[in-house]
């Protein structure tokens, strides 16, 4: 939920609550005032009638005023009383029962006791009350609506710099050397936020550059001694006077130096990908890339008598760094080759913007949770450094691709698909 909406809803809810409570109170207060008024009115009429009765003794037993609001009758009751009550009476004009306030009281005059009933119609006052109340309610409604829009407009205006900053942040990419600048907003909180962000991004940028330099320098520093070790050993190997035992020992050292340098290269590559130092992207035709790599590997397949079936008729295009695309394909293909068995099979297919490389291999399916982790070797192939799949996985992760592993029909299947798309069609054709 948007912050603005949230604030607006709360604000409106509270205003509505206050208005409702105020409305109820107002309604009752209005009722009380009207009621008070009617009592006063009845009391003044009572005084008038009492005075009249005391001056003029009525002739008949009971008198009724023409508008049916005053009834006077003689009574035997001697006690004094005033009773208010509400009643309904039929009104000739309105042709319906309407509420009345009834005042019953006794008058003592000329040795006679009279009971007087006064009726006061409540219709008008109730109408009045309703009118006032509806007017107020309408007013409340309008005020509420006005407040809602006003609030929205105001918060839109107030939060505008924030959203601007947000969009600047959104378009900022680490590693791309772009100057970050936020507009002056004139609002101290936002200016403070922006200046803090600016400092932070500057810091991140310099840290990033430093890190990049560090990894590059580290690579340089490690590769150079390794190059020296390798070349010196290579020079020693040229020595014709060495005996077999010497050769064997130097070879062991030479092999280790090569492994170390490959490991260093792989780790460096992995950290470079993780640091997103491969900024350049392009549309890469994966099918074409795989085809060209396959030609390169042809002989290696032949040697292991591996049957390669290629079904790359459907064009698959991924958007990623071309160099990394090549590394990705290399890693997956050499995995399929390395972990294959003699006279095995490799099936490469493209379908629905997915590339699947399946290969026969050692029996059991691999543990998916550990598969893409660094240095997690699940086979005994000693020349593998356990980084190939980690690198492939990292490359996919960086370009919104998904690398998934399945074990179908005794084949290990690696599938690269676009992340947004859920792979529904994951079957592999076997002939």
């Amino acid at each position: 939920m948007k912050l603005q909406t949230k604030i607006n809803i709360r604000f409106l809810a509270i205003t509505f609550l206050i208005f409702s409570v105020a409305g109820v109170l107002f309604y009752f207060a209005l009722g009380r005032v009207v009621d008070q008024n009617i009592r006063e009115m009845l009391k003044s009429r009572k005084a008038y009638i009492t005075l009249n009765l005391q001056q003029n003794t009525p002739i008949s037993e009971s008198i009724e005023s023409p508008d049916h609001t005053i009834f006077i009758k003689r009574t035997e009751k001697t006690e004094q009383y005033i009773v208010f009550s509400d009643t309904m009476a039929y009104d000739q004009e309105e042709k319906e029962l309407i509420p009345f306030r009834k005042m019953t009281f006794s008058v003592h005059s000329g040795g006679q006791h009279y009971e007087v009933i006064l009726l006061q119609s409540l219709l008008e006052s109730e109408d009045l009350q309703m009118i006032i109340f509806s007017f107020m309610a309408a007013l409340f409604g309008i005020v509420l609506l006005a407040l809602f829009f006003l609030n929205r407009w105001l918060s839109n205006k107030a939060w505008n710099p924030f959203f601007k900053s947000l969009s600047v942040l959104g378009s900022w990419k680490i590693g791309e050397n772009q100057a970050v600048n936020f507009d002056r907003t004139g609002i101290s909180e936002f200016d403070q936020l922006n200046s803090m962000l600016e400092n932070m991004m500057q810091k991140i940028q310099t840290d990033f550059v430093n890190l990049k330099e560090f990894t590059e320098n580290a690579s340089h520093e490690i590769q150079t001694p390794l190059a020296i070790i390798k070349s010196k050993l290579e020079m020693v190997l040229q020595d014709k006077t060495l005996n077999d035992q010497h050769y064997q020992r130097i070879r062991a050292a030479f092999e280790s130096a090569i492994r170390l340098s490959k490991l260093n290269e792989a780790l460096l590559l992995l950290s470079k990908i993780e640091n997103q130092q491969f900024v350049e992207v392009a549309e890469v035709n994966m099918c074409q890339l795989i085809q060209s790599r396959l030609e390169y590997l042809e002989e290696l397949f032949e040697l292991k008598q591996i049957e390669v079936s290629v079904q790359l008729d459907q064009k698959v295009v991924f958007i990623l760094n071309p160099l990394l695309a090549e590394i990705l394909v290399n890693n997956l293909l050499s995995n399929a080759l390395r972990h294959n068995i003699e006279k095995g099979k490799i099936i490469i297919s493209s379908e629905n913007q997915e590339i699947t490389i399946s290969n026969t291999g050692a029996g059991a399916p691999m543990d998916v949770s550990r598969l893409f982790r660094r240095f997690s070797k699940q086979t005994k192939a000693s020349e593998s450094n356990g980084l190939g799949l980690a690198i492939a996985h990292e490359i996919c992760k960086n370009y919104n691709l998904q690398l998934s592993y399945l074990y179908i029909s005794r084949m290990h299947c690696m599938t690269i698909s676009k992340k947004s798309q859920i792979s529904t069609n994951l079957h592999v054709n076997f002939d």
């Binding site: 150079t224 190059a227 290579e234 050769y247 064997q248 340098s261 290696l300 590394i327 000693s382």
Partner: protein, 224 residues
């Protein structure tokens, strides 16, 4: 043939120079951009090996300088930075080749030879080794004047061995020469073996001479 090696790591520089001098090249060394620039401006070389990361600047500037005064000199970049940017800008500036450290010395040697062949003889040079004649430009091999049919890989292999005559070539360097990145697969060693077996057989059949020598557990030497 004169080669200028610009590399700040003395030990590596010396090894390269030692290897190349055994091949009959005359080598000069420089460890900094300043020294390199001086030599580039003063003398003429057939080939320059240049490291990109030098203590006082980038080797790329030396390429620019060399291109201005001696454009005919061949340039090979040797760099530890396996970065596309350097590679592309280096090649854009006119470098002929790019080698990433750490590399195998026979590989460097083979690249220099191939570069010099292309530069100096426009590829038209004939290589004659004993009974074998190689026409690099046409990728053709003649034995006693008769053409010998070789596969692409076998030809590459032969060129690699011929470039490094008398040297022990390790299985690793051969595999890397033939398959680059895929070379770390141990299967490729088996393939090196089978390729060499085939090449050896073809050469023996036609010339009656075995040019290859096994070096215990290490690799092979081409002797002629």
């Amino acid at each position: 043939m004169k080669i200028l090696v610009i590399e700040d790591e003395v030990a590596l520089c010396e090894t390269i120079v030692a290897y190349l001098e055994e091949e009959g090249y005359r080598c000069e060394q420089a460890g900094t951009v300043e020294l390199g620039s001086e030599k580039v401006n003063l003398y003429e070389y057939d080939c320059m090996l240049v490291d990109i990361g030098l203590p006082d600047g980038s080797g790329l500037s030396l390429i620019r300088e060399l291109k201005k005064c001696h454009p005919e000199t061949g340039i090979i970049i040797i760099s530890a930075r396996n970065s596309m940017d350097d590679k592309i800008s280096g090649l854009d500036l006119g470098a002929d080749d790019y080698l990433t450290k750490p590399f195998h010395l026979p590989e460097l040697n083979s690249r220099i030879k191939s570069l010099l062949r292309r530069r100096k003889f426009e590829g038209k040079q004939e290589l004659v080794i004993d009974k074998i004649t190689i026409l690099p430009e046409n990728r053709q091999v003649l034995i006693n004047g008769e053409p010998l049919q070789l596969t692409r890989k076998e030809f590459d292999l032969l060129m690699f061995f011929v470039s490094n005559r008398g040297r022990v070539l390790t299985k690793e360097s051969i595999a890397e020469h033939l398959w680059g990145d895929f070379a770390d697969s141990s299967d490729s060693f088996d393939f090196v073996y089978s390729h060499i077996k085939n090449l050896r057989r073809k050469l023996i059949e036609r010339s009656g001479t075995d040019y290859f020598q096994n070096v215990y557990g290490t690799g092979y030497t081409f002797i002629a």
